[in-house]
Structures are given as C-alpha cells and as structure tokens.
Assembly symmetry: C2
C-alpha cells in the first residue's frame, strides 16, 4: 500500500486571476536590497504558495518582469500582488499607517523566536534584507519586532529565500489558528 | 530603542569540527535525483543551521566538492555529515534497519500535514525528490509516511530547497518538544 503523487487536476489548482482577487492571509513580505534575482523569484513562488497579501519591493531589489526572476518564480510573478517603493522607510510608514506590524527577520538583540507570534500581531509585514549584510540598520530601527530562526549549526545563517519560507509558513499557520 | 544585529562572536559560532562531533537532532535528509547544485548547496546550508544528523545523497544528485555546491553551501559542506548511495532503496533499507522512519515530502494521497509529526516519529529521514518530477514512484512506495506542506496559491509547488527548509525546521522543533 504505497503512496501516490496527486496529479495537477486533483490538486484543484486555482487560476492566477482568481487568486489575485481572492482573500489572502494578512501577511506582507518586504524585500529590501536583495541582490539575487534567483532569490527574488523564489520568494515570489513561496509567497504564492503561502497565499500572502502582497510583496513590497524596495531599494535595489530587482522587480518583475526579469528573465532571471521569472525562471525561479515559475509564474508566481503573475499571481502574487506586488509593488515597488524605492525608499523602504516610506513603505514602512504607509504600512504602519494601515495598522501593519513590521517584523524584521534577523538575528538581533531582543529578537524573539519566529514561532512566538500570536494572532494579535497581524496584519504583519515580514522584512528580509540583503544576502550578506542582512537588514539595513535604519530599516531594522523601524521594526516593531524582530523574529529569529534558531540556529543549531556552525554558520548561523540560512539562504534568505529559505529563511523567508520558514518564517512565512509559520506566520500563515499562526494566523490560521495553528492549522 | 531600535534593534541591533548581533555580531559573529556574539552568536557563539561553533567550529565545524566541533559541530561534526556534537549531538545532532535525530533527523536525516535524503536528496534523491536533485538536478540543481544550487539546491544541493542550499540544503547543506539549511541542514547545518537545523543541526540535523546527516544528508544522504542518492541517484544523480551531485556530491561535494563541486564549485556550484560550495557556492551556496558556504562552508556547510564541511560541517554537515553526508554519504552517497547510488541506490535510494538500498539507503532506505539501511535506515529502516536502524529504526529510522522514512517520510517523503510530497503532495500525495494520504499525505499528512508536515506539522503533524510527534516525537514518537523520530529518528526520521525526510526524503525530497527531483525539482520537476518530485519523488520517484518506487521511492515514494518505500516511504512510511508522506508529509505535505499546505498550498494556498495557484501553483501548488515550492522550490525544493525552500520546502526542505520549512519541513526540517518544523521537524527539529517537534523533536525538541515544541521549542
């Protein structure tokens, strides 16, 4: 009695247009000064899978359409809502005015585990930063909270797209009430 | 009162040799027929951060040292224990003989949520498969269990390295008793 992979139709895929208009989890993802388009595309794909509201692209992070983004986004650049703002502090100010809590994903002093959010923390914007430097200091200073993924190895770092995936799925689970 | 990133020494980095000899979480990761060395390297990095026991590389998945693996593993290819077995069924047989539960990461019939494991399921080997085809049918047939990451978007897929990261950190959290 083995397992059988589900086929596309069995998974009830939803068309991109329907997804864009549908109810999303009250989670935003801000990509500030991300260098690699591979990572940008990969985070679009994750954002689609996690059903989040919007990606906010800031600083020198590349925006779609770009061949290298599309290559790893695999169509998610069409289904995920996104906007670009050159200045991350501007974008944060607008999100805060809309009642969105700004949470950096970083290893910082006074950061709390990424598993420690509650439903009262939403709507929430997860902020990720540059692959090498992490989140810029002035952006980190604007965060209401910093979430940290525990590190049990020798390197104390994860690829930014992997880290964003770990945190986003946990946030979505929290907002869905642990499901 | 802003947040401040921790510096390297503040994070108490552990040298690679010490890590290799230290107690690890009873979690294995099997990479079967992974095409992209970027993904292999990224999963080495994640395996280091999650503190898992070993990576089992099977089929045509590339093994270190390879320039493209090292580029994304960022040194984790030195700290993470790994072995290569051409035949995944052979490797699975050996793991099962050691009492390791084999769990595919896939969308399949009778799969259960990746968040639904308990401490009784460990030691556990998470199996991931090819970027396009997923886990080979004959490997899937040998799995004791299939874990699934819920999909809320239009694509029903995640990058394999991102999916492995989401599942591994959840497994480590379970085995640590929810911490």
């Amino acid at each position: 009695m083995g397992f059988r992979k589900l086929t596309g139709p069995e998974m009830n895929r939803i068309p991109a247009e329907a997804i864009r208009g549908s109810l999303r989890h009250p989670v935003y993802l801000m990509l500030h000064n991300i260098r690699s388009m591979w990572n940008v595309g990969s985070m679009f794909r994750t954002a689609d899978a996690a059903g989040i509201k919007k990606i906010i692209i800031t600083g020198y992070t590349a925006t779609p359409p770009r061949k290298q983004i599309d290559k790893t986004a695999l169509g998610a650049q069409e289904s995920v809502r996104w906007e670009y703002a050159a200045d991350p502090l501007d974008a944060i100010m607008h999100l805060k005015a809309d009642g969105v809590r700004i949470c950096g994903l970083e290893i910082a002093d006074r950061s709390r585990p990424y598993t420690a959010t509650g439903r009262e923390d939403f709507p929430l914007c997860l902020v990720v930063g540059n692959e090498v430097e992490g989140i810029d200091d002035e952006v980190l200073a604007c965060c209401d909270d910093v979430l940290e993924i525990p590190q049990y190895g020798s390197k104390h770092s994860l690829n930014v797209a992997v880290a964003a995936g770990i945190a986003l799925f946990e946030l979505v689970r929290t907002v869905r009430g642990g499901m």
